[in-house]
Amino acid sequence: MNYRLVIGLEMHCEMKSNSKVFSPASNVYNKIANANVNAIDLGLPGILPNVNKECVRKALMASLILNCQTPEYLMFDRKNYYYPDLPKGYQITQATMPIGINGHIDIECNGQMIPVSIQDIHLEEDSASLDHLSKTSLIDYNRAGVPLLECVTDPCMHSADEAVAFLDTMCRIYQYTDISEADTKKGQIRCDVNVSLQDENGNFLTPKVEVKNVNSLGNVRDTILYEEKRQWELYSEGRADELIQETRRFDEETGTTIHMRSKVDAIDYKYFVEPNIPPIKIDSNYVESIKKDIPMLATERKNMYIENYKLDEKDANIIVKDKKNADYFEECISIGIDAKVACNWLNGLIIAYINKENISLDDFYLRPNLLKQIIDHQNDNTISSKQAKEVFYKALEERKEPKNFISKENSQITDEKAIEEIIDRILADHPSQITEYQNGRTNMFDFFVGQVMKETRGKASPIITKELLHKKIDK
């Protein structure tokens, strides 16, 4: 018997904004606990929410990118439950009228385009974060009130690869639009993963299992693979009655999921419309202006690199994987660096360097204008590619502009006469090697180039050297 995996995702993403979604407290990551907190975040008696316009704009943009229907009115609801990380005893979210419903997006998975349908996308506030110690728990309210975008898909994905590809696409959309950094290392992405199995006719074999709060793309993959195995094993062993509609959590240490509560214990969140936020009419002109502001996204940029700059698909893919890389690349081009040259530098030395140093491209010292100093000198042959590499590392090491390391003293020898003199001397000293070369040992050519480089400590222009050598010894 065959089965089909059915996956639906609820993806929570912390948004980038100056202030929190309903309070003026700062929304900048702060290592010091309880530093970004005000009365509203603490739910002190008498406080009222104030909707952050920047967040609404970004949420609408996400809704439009996902081809959702946008509502006529902006409305919020309260989700009521008690938990120590929820200061007000309710979360302000959107249930009645989410900022987007019935959307869809095509994602690329293993070279194929797959449609994903979006149930809704909505704007809400995050809770505080808890740190459980052995005997006490600490509460950090920095996260309380941080804007969250929650995107809910239909149960329309059928493999862990598809689920991860979807999340990866979403992260890139958020990054390219500046909606979020979508950085899992900072805990900015959290997913609830719904998994069940169907037979070939679309009948459910197992009840829906929801795995809560999975916090990285890798863990989403592991969660799905584990649940698929667990559910199929129980089902095929005839133990289907042990499968119940339940909520589980992913345990990172064991790579398994653990039962939290069953459907009968499901919490009634007693949703109702937030009375402190009057319905706000969403102007169609406003929506149109947001639509116009949607920047080029990863796929479009990739296609542009292939068509306009003649990059190959592999290189283009590497560049658009991270918006920072794509921005860097485009800045290079805008200041006149050749696209292929920029691509080689970026996908070669630069990515290797930032990976090795474990830094972000934002913190990479050689901005495109500094990189250009190296490339320009390479282009007019004042330095060799070997020297360019040296200057690159030297500049990064000392955090000084590359031009400081490009002097006349170590610049390339391009004087043909000077090189010719050296070549003549070397040829005179190695008659037998000339004979060998002329008898067909073509690799002896490199021997002569090497000798010239040795003599000039690598400064002779390799192009000129090779030209002259060919003239002299090719018969």
């Binding site: 009365a39 008696p45 008498g46 909707v51 009521n80 005893g89 309710y90 009634d268 109702f272």
Partner: protein, 487 residues
Amino acid sequence: MRYLDKDLLTIHSALKNGEVTSKELIEESLTEIKKYNGDVNAFNLLIEDAKEVSVTDSILSGIPYAMKDNISTKGIRTTACSNTLKDYVPVYNATAYENLCNHGAVMIGKTNLDELAMGGTGTTGNTGTVHNPWNLKHMTGGSSAGSAAAVALGVVPYAIGTDTGDSIRKPAAYTGVVGYKPSYGLISRYGLFAFASSLDHIGTITRNVKDAAIVVDAMKGADAKDMTSIRDMDTVSLYKAIDGNVKGKKLFYIKEICDKANYEGEDTQYVLDQFKQTIDEVRTLGIEVCEESFDIDLLKAIKPIYDCVSCAEATSNDSNLTGIIFGPRGEGESVMQMMKDHRTKGFSPLIKRRFVIGSFVLQKENQERYFLNAKRVRRLICNRMNELFSKYDGLILPCSGSCAPLLDDASDKITRNNHYISILENHLAIGNFGGYPSITIPNGFIREMPMGINITGAFKDDANILNVASAIEEKLGYKNQVVKEVK
């Protein structure tokens, strides 16, 4: 010579003329409060070191007032008379309070209320019962019980109150003073300890209509911190709008509420007779007063709507009272147990009852039938009211079927199975359903206890309503009355 039992303009000009100083007024207020507070229990906190304020052109400058104890005042204990907020000292100011400070108003103390403003008796706060200064055996009504009592006593010229169903206007009627709840959003709710957000209002209790206008003028204003605050009435002066020119104004009363045939009790018969006389006097001002019929089923729904909506919103609003961030920390093995312990010990049974009702009507299986239907019928009532307000300047009605009930008469007579009595006692909530400006003024006495009438108008038509109320007040002759002898 006493000043604080006079109207605001008199006190202001005495300050301007140098007859009296702000410091002397503060002393007078503190002395007078202490004289009566043992009997009446209007205040739970006196600001003994209240600072005098130099007198400016602002009428409120330098003059003491009383604040209901459910409005956030930075550094000054605010408890809403609930044990869950015992010793709670806010870290921020309510916008309304800040506006009063900016006008030079001097807060002299915090007044008692029903716990968390939920209640209409003035008997359920953790600081004990508030007694009606006209006769200590009677209640003041609530929840702004202490504020009403303080103004009736003449220990302050005005007090701040809050009103979710009738919490300013009912106690004002029961203590023979003026209670004004402006349009929803005219005064920012930022810093008002929420009871039911869609019904909550800040307002004032005074001894005449003009004073009410002056106080609300000082408190009102668009506030970026309250998204429901009215944005386009900042330039309106309610005080200046009172010009006494009311000829040709049109009021209506509701036939079903004012028909004597619907009631049995002697008191109610008397109240309705008095109301009729009041109407006659109103007509002599050149104001037309008409009878209008209102769907009885809608009127019967007032109390259930109020219960559903207010309890539902309250159970959510008060979910922040867990003792984790503020308030006395509960005991228990886990955080959830600590929260439970705090709430079990902190709330009175009456509050818990409301939370149970609120949770019940919000439950998934009940929400459609109770909470959402309540909201729909609320809308129907407002639609009908708006229709009537398009023809009339306002609605005029008696505030209740009798005077303030006796305190030891614990068996709530008003819950007898007579719909009409229930409507007569609860119709002021219409003002909260639609956010309408609504003002209560005294219109006489029944068994030596004061009673009042109410005038309610269209949303944002505050100036018109106050002008009409002021003219009627002049005519009726109970303006600026204070309790002569506390007994």
